[in-house]
């Protein structure tokens, strides 16, 4: 029983991580119907950005003070992720806005591969796993029979809080309304005075900040990073976004927790163990796309003549 609860806790923590990446996928797809393949890499560069801030910008004594170091890393990671995402949008995706659908998809693939390799080549030591400091409180928490590292709990809490903030913003604010309008009908939105380019940039930006923060927290939790964490976790995040309903914020978060739980439970209880956890998630993804492509909270796409 203790192990089950522990796995559930781990699963929820992992779900919290995935949620921060899934939100970016779902928002960008909602707005421009593009699966940003390279979004996982935004997450990855955020993690490396945080590490860079820690290793090169913070003096040694400050590095130990977590309430200064961690925020600095979070900000650094978010900024790096933001810059990468905005460059991506501006130079790789925007020129292809009206091209046939294959083009931006392939471009996204290219950007993803490029970023992975560039990071591997140019970041010192990145050809194997790079150690990531635990910039948060190191002492683990004990609740009953389960042990949660503090950084894991932090990830969970931050994820939920940010998701709620995002949901409120999108549903309540003027800009949020503009985002939803552009997602539903860009031409009409333009007629209403909304500048779709700005809205799209904002969407990419929000997704990037979330992913960047997620990346730094991921590093603190796992204690090392490598250039491929974006690819691996990106697939999970995408599965979460699809499961929850692509375009739905609530869906992405709930989907993420479900995926996190499934992954951890599959590790222990399903045949094949950790080597096959990806396989189960992929099978679930395929099943969702076949039987209920709109996911839990999404809208069914209607064929128009």
């Amino acid at each position: 029983m203790g192990t089950l609860l522990q796995q559930i806790a781990n699963g929820l923590i992992f779900g919290g991580l995935i949620a921060m990446v899934a939100l970016g996928y779902t928002m960008v797809y909602g707005i421009i119907q593009l699966i940003n393949f390279a979004h996982g890499e935004v997450f990855m560069t955020g993690a490396f950005g945080g590490l860079a801030v820690y290793s090169w910008l913070l003096p040694a004594d400050v590095q130990q003070i977590w309430y200064v170091a961690l925020p600095a890393m979070l900000v650094g990671g978010a900024i790096v992720a933001l810059v990468i995402a905005l460059l991506m949008e501006r130079f790789a995706y925007r020129p292809l806005r009206n091209a046939p659908r294959l083009a931006p998809l392939i471009t996204a693939l290219g950007v993803s591969v490029f970023l992975q390799e560039a990071m591997r080549i140019f970041f010192p030591g990145a050809s194997s796993a790079v150690p990531f400091p635990n910039a948060f409180i190191t002492a683990p928490l004990h609740i009953g029979s389960i042990t949660i590292p503090a950084s894991g709990l932090l990830m969970l809490v931050v994820s939920v809080v940010l998701s709620i903030v995002l949901e409120t913003y999108v549903n309540g604010s003027r800009m949020g309304r503009a985002m939803r309008a552009t997602a539903q009908d860009p031409d009409t939105a333009r007629l209403m005075g909304i500048n779709p380019d700005r809205v799209i940039v904002l969407t990419f930006g929000i997704g990037a900040v979330l992913a960047g923060v997620g990346g730094v927290l991921y590093g603190s939790y796992i204690h090392n990073i490598d250039p491929y964490i974006g690819f691996q976790n990106g697939l999970f995040a995408f599965a979460a976004a699809v499961l929850g309903g692509i375009g739905s914020i609530r869906g992405a978060v709930i989907g993420a927790f479900v995926i996190g739980l499934i992954k951890n439970l599959a590790d222990i209880y399903l045949p094949g163990g950790t080597a096959y956890d990806y396989v189960w998630i992929f099978i679930l993804l395929i099943a969702v796309l076949v039987f209920r492509p709109q996911g839990l909270f999404g809208e069914a796409e209607r064929v128009r003549a």
Partner: protein, 570 residues
């Protein structure tokens, strides 16, 4: 500014020639003279130059001639010459600077002066500036049709020339390709020169003329091309090293053509395609009698290959079925997921079929009438290199795949696939059974990949999950896109480039995947139809009409068409 065009071009061309003649480096570089002794010397015997300096000289002369001779399509010709020269000049200058440690290597040092690189760069720049000032002109078209024997002769000459060009390209850095330390930039220089030559031919309408001719005499062209392919082992590429390389290119080209059916024709973005090749490879490996194989039998290769194709085809149908209801982007992800499932499953040696991280090594060599495929062969006194039989087998494989692709494309099925790609809902409204056809596309592509995989396993003598990862799928996709979606020569060219370049540019091997990613982005942005464009694709993606003229030119001819196009909107 137009008045300045001609003088600029002439001056530029002359400066390029002078640059070619000047010394290029002020001292001998670390790995030896670059290239030969020529880099240090000024040449007063103009045709005593070699390699890239010779190319520059020839390009400069060409620029001079084309600037003075009356031409209709001067601008495209000179652009080709200009960009070729610029490429050679910049690449070599940068390389010398990089390898020689600084600008001193290309200017003045130790009492030696060497302005060749800078002069050539400046000359090329002037040439280009002048060329871009020239007025636009319609693309030259060679109209007259010759009697069939004359066209056959021209085609023969053209294809043999192509063969020679290819062999020269591949051996540009030295025959074995291994020993020359400067192989990278020399190869690139050669590519620039060859590219400029092809560009000039294109501007004169020669390439289109020949390509139309080959369309008219399709069977003859295919026969000649096959003969050229068979002739390769007798050329300067006839050694073990190149046999292996060309064999690899062939296998991947066959796979790329199969992918072209799925992506290029039917428009289904399959990101896990290489898994089908892997399935074929493992089936063949397990039926080959290798020690590590699961089944202790050894079937004749032809049987194993067919089995590989069939099994892969079945999986193609399996992968295709769930994707029927999902659109473009989702389809990509689902196929990616399948590809990853394959990698995981084979990495963990499912059912003992894949050997896991130990793979299935030592797959027995193929043999025909007692001749082992890996050994050297002697025919009538000529000794052919080792592995030549694999090469011939692969030529056969590529021919088969081309046959399948070509026939399907020009049929009811091919048209339906293209319709599905362009507008699936309308295709369905026209009575096309889109579901069945999409599965057929997957199955056909998968079967071909399975066949290629079977051959691959025997050539490599190993079947390992490592050869079939996501990276390979990306590389294949890049080959198809770079070469040109929907065309056979495109897929072959793409596969060739992606497997030859890493060999030639071995110095940059670590950066290879990064450049692939970048290349994908750049190509989709600037030339989405690839290098050799299907006439439909070009029209679809690049605003040209079927004859290759840009729509701007067509507009000049037909105001009605312009009005119509404008009215019809997007």
């Amino acid at each position: 500014m137009k008045a300045m065009a001609r003088p600029l071009i002439i001056v530029g061309a002359i400066v390029v020639i002078i640059g070619a003649l000047l010394p290029w480096a002020t001292f001998v570089l670390n790995d030896g003279a670059y290239p030969d002794k020529a880099s240090l010397e000024f040449f007063d015997a103009p045709f005593g130059l070699t390699s890239f300096r010779l190319y520059l000289e020839l390009l400069g002369l060409a620029g001079l001639v084309f600037a003075l001779v009356p031409l209709r399509d001067r601008i495209r010709v000179l652009k080709a010459v200009g960009w070729g020269s610029a490429g050679i000049a910049v690449i070599n200058t940068l390389f010398i600077v990089g390898d020689g440690g600084g600008l001193g290597a290309v200017t003045v040092a130790d009492g030696h002066s060497a302005f060749g690189g800078l002069a050539a760069t400046v000359g090329a720049a002037l040439l280009l500036v002048g060329a871009y000032q020239l007025p636009k002109a319609p693309l030259a078209v060679i109209k007259p049709r010759l009697p069939f024997w004359a066209e056959w002769l021209i085609l023969l000459v053209a294809f043999v020339a192509l063969l020679l060009l290819v062999t020269e390209t591949l051996t540009a850095g030295g025959h074995s390709g291994v020993s020359d330390p400067y192989i990278g930039p020399l190869f690139l220089s050669y590519l620039c020169a060859a590219g400029a030559l092809l560009g000039v031919l294109w501007a004169f309408g020669v390439t289109k003329w020949i390509s139309d001719m080959s369309e008219r005499h399709r069977i003859f062209s295919i026969v000649v091309l096959l003969l050229c392919a068979v002739a390769v082992p007798f050329t300067s590429l006839g050694n073990d090293y190149w046999m292996t390389i060309t064999a690899n290119i062939g296998v991947y080209a066959a796979t790329a053509i199969g992918l072209n059916i799925v992506v290029g024709l039917a428009g289904l973005l399959d990101l896990g395609y290489v898994a089908f090749m892997g399935i074929g490879a493992f089936v063949a490996a397990n039926l080959s009698g290798a020690v590590a194989a699961e089944f202790g039998i050894r079937l004749p290769f032809i049987v194993a290959a067919i089995a590989a194709g069939i099994v892969a085809g079945i999986f193609g149908a399996v992968v295709g079925s769930p994707t029927l209801r999902v659109r473009g982007d989702y389809l990509a992800i689902v196929t990616l997921a399948f590809g990853e499932i394959f990698v995981r499953v084979s990495q963990n040696n499912i059912g003992g079929l894949t050997g896991g991280s130990n793979a299935i090594p030592n797959i027995p060599d193929l043999s025909l009438f007692g001749a082992q495929f890996n050994d050297s062969l002697t025919i009538g006194g000529i000794q052919l290199p080792g592995g030549v039989l694999y090469y011939f087998l692969i030529v056969l494989l590529v021919a088969l795949v081309m046959f399948v692709f070509g026939n399907l494309k020009n049929s009811r099925i091919g048209r339906a696939w293209i319709a599905i790609r362009e507008d699936e809902d309308v295709a369905r409204a026209m009575g096309v059974k889109t579901g069945k056809l999409k599965i057929l596309a997957f199955m056909t592509g998968a079967t071909l990949a399975g066949l290629a995989g079977a051959v691959f396993a025997h050539k490599l003598a190993t079947a390992s999950y490592d050869s079939f990862q996501f990276n390979q799928s990306v590389t294949l996709l890049a080959a198809v896109i770079l070469g040109g979606m929907g065309t056979i020569p495109g897929a072959v060219l793409g596969a060739a480039l992606l497997f030859v370049l890493p060999e030639e540019l071995r110095q940059f091997s670590d950066y290879r995947l990064m450049f692939f990613g970048l290349a994908l982005v750049v190509i989709m942005r600037f030339r989405p139809q690839g290098l050799i464009a299907d006439r439909h694709r070009r029209a679809e993606l690049a605003d040209e009409d079927v004859t290759g003229e840009s729509l701007d030119d067509t507009a000049i001819k037909s105001p009605v068409a312009v009005a119509g196009v404008k009215e019809a909107g997007a």
